[in-house]
Symmetry: C2
Subunit: 225 residues, 2 copies
């Protein structure tokens, strides 16, 4: 992950830089507004961290400027406690998130990673489709052919994972990890139950079944046996 930090306070800047490096990300730093804008425009970053108050050109202006150029890189705005603490203004200018100094580094990291994840999703794919099944990740709607299918949250998550791993067996362990966020065996048949409900909605009214069970192993989303 490549991150540009625009921050005039050297202490804060270095704190962020070293933290991000430790987390395996690469960084670049600018210490005034104009330099920041220049680097942001020229380089290809996954995210920008921009202080609100900067010499030469303030943070919000940088954001407005790069947005005008059609650059949609996610931006996290930093603002010191005591500065005009107007989130709305920052977000209006085109910031994606807002963090008040002083902050815990873990918090910054969590937010930046969340931003990048969101922006990557949006860039590549706002939807998934397979074998006539269509899933809109934004509106959270699913359809097969012309027929709209209403899914509950868990069912949606389950199907999303299956659709991201088509034509291969996904095991119960994998599903527990990915969909349930369980790192232990719940000793029940939760997965079977939900898979059953999903089948009712996805496959029941169609001749071509998409969900297949692979006995002793798991399930697979594929066109044929």
């Amino acid at each position: 992950m490549r991150v540009l930090i625009v921050e005039d306070d050297v202490t804060v800047g270095q704190y962020i830089v070293s933290g991000l490096k430790e987390s395996g990300h690469s960084t670049e730093i600018a210490s005034d507004g104009l330099a920041g804008l220049k680097i942001a425009t020229e380089g290809d970053f996954d995210a920008l961290i921009i202080d609100r108050m900067l010499p030469q050109m303030d943070g919000l202006s940088i954001i407005e400027s790069i947005r005008r150029e059609g650059n949609n890189t996610p931006v996290l705005i930093l603002s010191a406690l005591g500065e005009v603490n107007d989130k709305v203004q920052g977000l209006k200018a085109g910031g994606d998130d807002y963090l008040v100094k002083p902050f815990a580094f873990q918090e910054l990291l969590a937010r930046i990673e969340a931003l990048v994840r969101r922006s990557l999703l949006n860039e590549d794919e706002t939807s998934l489709s397979f074998g006539g099944l269509f899933m809109d990740l934004i509106t959270r709607k699913v359809s097969r052919g012309e027929i709209e299918i209403r899914l509950k949250p868990r069912e949606f998550q389950l199907l999303e994972f299956m659709m991201r791993n088509t034509n291969q067996v996904v095991t119960r362990t994998m599903l527990l990890e990915a969909v349930w966020n369980y790192h232990f065996d719940p000793q029940t048949n939760v997965i079977d139950v939900h898979m059953s409900r999903l089948r009712q909605k996805i496959d029941k009214d169609f001749d071509l079944k998409l969900i297949h069970t692979v006995r002793g192993v798991g399930y697979a989303l594929q066109l044929s046996e």
Copy 2:
């Protein structure tokens, strides 16, 4: 993650090795039982993948041998379909998990990572405690002082995260990521609700409150204000 693979079938062995490498793990491979035992004893691995049937010394004997030496590295046993498929026997010998060939690589990866995660936890701690609060991660029981506290799954996860991050502020964003596995803002007060219920159980009947809210930022588990 350093993994030792003990497998005589070269095809299978290479398949695992290359898969693990792609996932960013480092590997070593032994193709018979004795060699495997030697490398396992001398090297420092995060996990072992051991085939059950091996030339020179079978898989179960290797496991028994290294366990006798007090080595607790997690072991995943591989067994071919058709071999005596006795999970219990494998686990008794000291294996931590069991996988039948043929398997999808994703499955192996998921299991190995789960094992390592568990073992890392277990190495330091099968339990957490803080300020009189005690949490058993295996039995999933919680107590404060002598009083046992019954928590629901979400409450348990929430408290677990708090106990792993004591004496610092955990923000809602962090909680959403870690406990809810959400990468977006649900625009509701889910966290507040669960935090409230957790408080009822953890703090209500005690003078010393452990959960503190940090207004505008999040929550913290700490002894004093």
